[in-house]
Symmetry: C2
Subunit: 288 residues, 2 copies
């Protein structure tokens, strides 16, 4: 009979996946077992620590609902969610980097006119004009791309977290113009805390980590023949630009919110002066 021990158990577990197993599932399970075992061996995990880990996962499961997924939050604060986005971002030169979708996306936001319009409405906060182009690998503008935009209000909350905001507040959709141009008005987003009332909040407290996300505007850009792009833009001067609790910031997505006093631009976009200007072009990858 086989004589299992702490060294050979890894190969023994990975020998049990049957021949009919989907090859990709098998590849992932084999790597999972190898890394879990190596982790336990490396730190010489005790039975009491294993029990604490099981209890922690039990509490994460208890806190999780379809609306509030503590497993995703755990993945976020360990940098796993962002790493997965980064791995998917290794596209051709010129393609915009991806970042997290987050839990606050809603479909069917109000359509603005082709090219852009007013998402700011009467929201308090620093007025901002965001503008640029959506382009392809060759630098050509992509007309008719669908851009979806969502962000939080001055109180730090998204509309679907806040009964005092209209459901569609600070959310919009727009189609790019034939040359790929877009422009919309909004307010500057503000940093906000990830939820800290669950077991993941306990980890942050036990390790002296803050729960703040760098302020950001979410984008989802789709166009026929191109891969979907989900990303975020961050104010380069945000106090948490180097300390996003979920590691969503990339240097290429940190953008200046330039101050403008242009009366002409203000009038064209219905903004008071001064206002912020963000210029950003989004590069899409060909599908597949």
């Amino acid at each position: 009979m086989q004589d299992l021990d702490h060294a050979n158990i890894t190969a023994a577990v990975n020998a049990t996946w049957g021949d009919g197993t989907d090859p990709r599932l098998r590849e992932i399970l084999e790597a999972l077992v190898r890394h879990l075992h190596e982790l336990a061996r490396e730190v010489n995990l005790t039975h009491a620590e294993w029990q604490q880990a099981i209890e922690f996962l039990y509490q994460v499961g208890r806190k999780t609902t379809r609306r509030r997924n503590e497993f995703i939050l755990l993945s976020d604060i360990l940098g796993v969610s962002s790493l997965v986005d980064m791995l998917a971002s290794r596209g051709p030169d010129g393609a915009t980097e991806r970042s997290v979708l987050g839990p606050f996306y809603l479909p069917n936001a109000p359509m603005l006119p082709v090219g852009g319009g007013d998402m700011r409405r009467d929201n308090p906060g620093e007025p901002v004009l965001v503008r640029g182009r959506v382009y392809d690998a060759s630098g050509r503008g992509i007309g008719g791309a669908l851009m979806e935009v969502w962000q939080n209000a001055a109180n730090g909350l998204y509309s679907n977290q806040d009964p005092d905001q209209a459901d569609d507040n600070l959310r919009c959709r727009l189609n790019t113009a034939t040359d790929g141009a877009y422009a919309f008005t909004t307010i500057r987003p503000v940093p906000y805390s990830v939820p800290t009332d669950g077991p993941v909040g306990g980890v942050l407290r036990a390790t002296g980590r803050h729960p703040w996300r760098t302020a950001h505007i979410h984008f989802r850009v789709t166009a026929p023949g191109y891969d979907e792009l989900v990303t975020e833009l961050f104010p380069a001067d945000d106090p948490y630009i180097d300390g996003d609790a979920v590691f969503g910031v990339r240097a290429s997505l940190a953008v200046p919110f330039r101050r403008s006093d242009s009366a002409e631009l203000a009038a064209a976009h219905g903004l008071p002066t001064p206002f912020g200007v963000v210029d950003y072009d989004f590069g899409l990858c060909p599908a597949g």
Copy 2:
């Protein structure tokens, strides 16, 4: 500002654990982040696969209660629970290897007379005499050690899974005699399936793995001045001796269930002939 990418994010996450973090917690978190990230990079985990993993954990959480912990079962079938036992088993020569406590332990089982007695009662199944000594590192018997024993019945169920069994059926406690000797009668345990109605059962089916645990008798042995020993004995001729679904079997814990026709021994222990005999000595480690 820092420019996070798929290679440097691991160091960035591990730089966030604060100076006041418990050193052992920090050691474990750093290794956890390193191995989770390495796993994602190695298999080039896609966003869709990450979502499937999150959904799987969500389902594991939903299936888990205080009585039925699907996280423990997941740890079991990935060999992690046994590996942790193995790491704790690296004691001095002569110390008995540890194995899983399992979910069916109950305290306060009936006390048999010093040295042993009848745990078999009127249970159907192959009658067995289990006997031996509890000894220390120098080979001296340990008198007055407390041995707790539990196992399943011929129908594969433990008393706390089966309304048709008395709560204390096939469970006992006994104190060893002054020379460390013990002996009790029972029936041969039978293989049984781990629960397969949850997401972990789905993994077993998707990978062509069977859910059977090798038959076993559970032991917990405690004595003042010695480390607690939790282990199991397995019939060496069990059909699943090389295929325990939770990797609990060690060669040193697989024991012959020898057939005996001894009328003398049968009479001394109130058994019919023929019966099985298991001879096993348990070695304890000095405390600490």
